[in-house]
Amino acid sequence: MNGSQGDVDLSVSLLSLHLKNPVMPASGCFSFGKEAASFYDLNVLGAIVVKATTLEERLGNPTPRVAETAAGMLNAIGLQNPGVQRVMAEELPGLRRYPSVPVIVNVAGTAVEDYVAVVKALSTSPDVSAIELNISCPNVKCGGIQFGSDPRLAAAMVRAVKTVATRPVIVKLSPNVTDIVEMAVACEEAGADALTLINTVIGMKIDLEQRRPLLANGSGGLSGPAIKPIAIRMVYEVSRYVNIPVIGVGGIMTGADAIEFLLAGATAVQVGTANFVDPLACPRIIDETREWCVQHGVRSIRELIGVSWRANGR
């Protein structure tokens, strides 16, 4: 197969990976794929990003962990996961059933050594196509956010991880910074192979009856349509500036949203919260993206990447 589906070629290349389309579920919004597989054949996906993996098992935060907000939601899950060894032994092998779908493993931790140890372990797994460094989780004390908001710390982290990684390293950036371009450049210079932006935006909701923050953690990460303009702006600015591919994420609910991210400069997109609202969101967004291309006479989706800032854009 040459990646063309119907009359439109939706395929993109991301680093060494060939994606049959640019749409993948975002980390933490797909678990490890088992549940979604009861709704559709995961072979349709461009790639899969699995839940954040840490060195040791984590139980995560107390509840409430989620709260709805206008056109969005807050979450403070706290990186609940069984730890890298069990992820490799129990979760990743199940994804071998989808050989055409690259698996990207999201990595989180507290100290640089944790990240390095997890990446080292994952580099021995046949089931990992790329690593996504989550240096931006807002919901754990020392959950990596200090790396996500200080360009020098981020760069040091990326360099340390790159010395042990045998797979491409994608760095997922936090929007909770003053200068996103500075962060992106620091990661690129340190050797990042690609960037994902954005993680959730820190927020809070107060329960009027209890007169206290609704989430047990106090603050949480805002996701969903409410953050899309923030994500679009950041993808636009960063993709113009860096020479490595950018994966766009934040509030994608429809094919039109995915197209908007490509025009902003994303090479691929991730779908997070939409999976919660509609378990079929990813396949639907892929279909809608193809449909949009057909209607707009776009033969290859690659034509759209970065058009909004390219001088020769329409």
């Binding site: 933490g28 919004c29 797909f30 678990s31 088992k34 549940e35 979604a36 709704f39 839940k51 139980l59 995560g60 107390p62 509840t63 409430p64 962990r65 989620v66 709260a67 709805e68 206008a70 056109a71 969005g72 939601m73 979450n75 899950i77 609940q80 969903g224 349509p225 609910m253 919260t273 999976n275 919660f276 609202v277 509609d278 378990p279 079929l280």
Partner: protein
């Protein structure tokens, strides 16, 4: 996602509604368990993003219809309340693990509080259909919040408790769980707010009656992918965070840990 047609939408009391719609799954081919829930979008637009979990209250297998009974308790349920027969609604489910029915049991004790009462109706129906006797204790804050009492009474005796004594006896449901009531109960089934479930768990384990608790947590996805809805359980002597949407909402009372 599956959109199904609203068949009936009745007002049962102040801010209390029974919504009946075509089942998203074929009920003749798929058994649904009491205690499972439906995950319902209240709006087509993205301003109310998340689905609302509502318990299965009645499954009409013959007509392939499901009913949920819910209290308007916020903007989402207020939106839902505006749906009319013939409207289409987006419903996922039935989801989760419901109340298991045990062949050897002869007598079941059902315990409900507030909006935890609706799933007990389908449970009572299925328990009676498998030949078990049913005794129910329900608790509410005040008389105005009573629901489904007559419907439950079809399947067995119903004791009503209210916090303020405005209907039934004054007090909590646990006050009604007397030694004689529990003496010949093979099992109990409870659904309600956490404070009630915790008290029921303690009371019933003291009396040596095994049972199930249906837990309530805020949900993101309802299908096990966000890990938002967890509740602590003891499994194999180890504390774990189980997903109430997929591993529950019904759990063996013995394994539930209240933090």
């Amino acid at each position: 996602m599956p959109t199904v047609e609203v068949y009936a939408h009745e007002t049962l009391g102040k801010d209390l509604h029974a919504l009946t719609f075509a089942s998203p799954i074929d009920l003749r081919a798929n058994h649904c368990q009491p205690g499972q829930f439906l995950h319902i979008r209240v709006s087509r637009s993205f301003d109310f993003l998340l689905r609302r979990p509502l318990s299965l209250c009645d499954a009409d297998v013959e007509h392939n219809r499901l009913t949920v009974v819910y209290r308007v308790s916020g903007e989402g349920t207020r939106r839902l309340a505006a749906r009319k027969p013939g409207d289409l609604i987006d419903v996922l489910g039935p989801l989760g693990q419901g109340f298991p029915i045990h062949d050897m049991d002869r007598r079941a004790l059902l315990i409900g509080g507030g909006v935890g009462v609706p799933p007990l109706l389908e449970l009572a129906k299925q328990l009676r259909a498998s030949g078990k006797s049913v005794q129910t204790v329900v608790g509410f804050q005040t008389a105005g919040q009573l629901m489904l009492i007559e419907e439950l009474a079809v399947y067995g005796e119903v004791a009503v408790m209210t916090d303020d004594g405005s209907a039934g006896e004054r007090g909590r449901v646990t006050a009604a769980l007397t030694a004689e009531l529990c003496a010949d109960a093979d099992r109990y089934y409870a659904c309600g707010p956490s404070v009630m479930l915790r008290a029921v768990q303690e009371e019933m384990s003291g009396k040596g009656v095994p049972g199930y608790l249906s837990l309530e947590e805020r949900m993101g996805c309802g299908i096990g992918i966000c890990v938002g809805c967890v509740h602590p359980v003891l499994r194999g002597g180890k504390l774990a965070n189980a997903k109430t949407c997929r591993d529950g909402p019904v759990f063996d009372a013995q394994e539930v840990v209240f933090p």
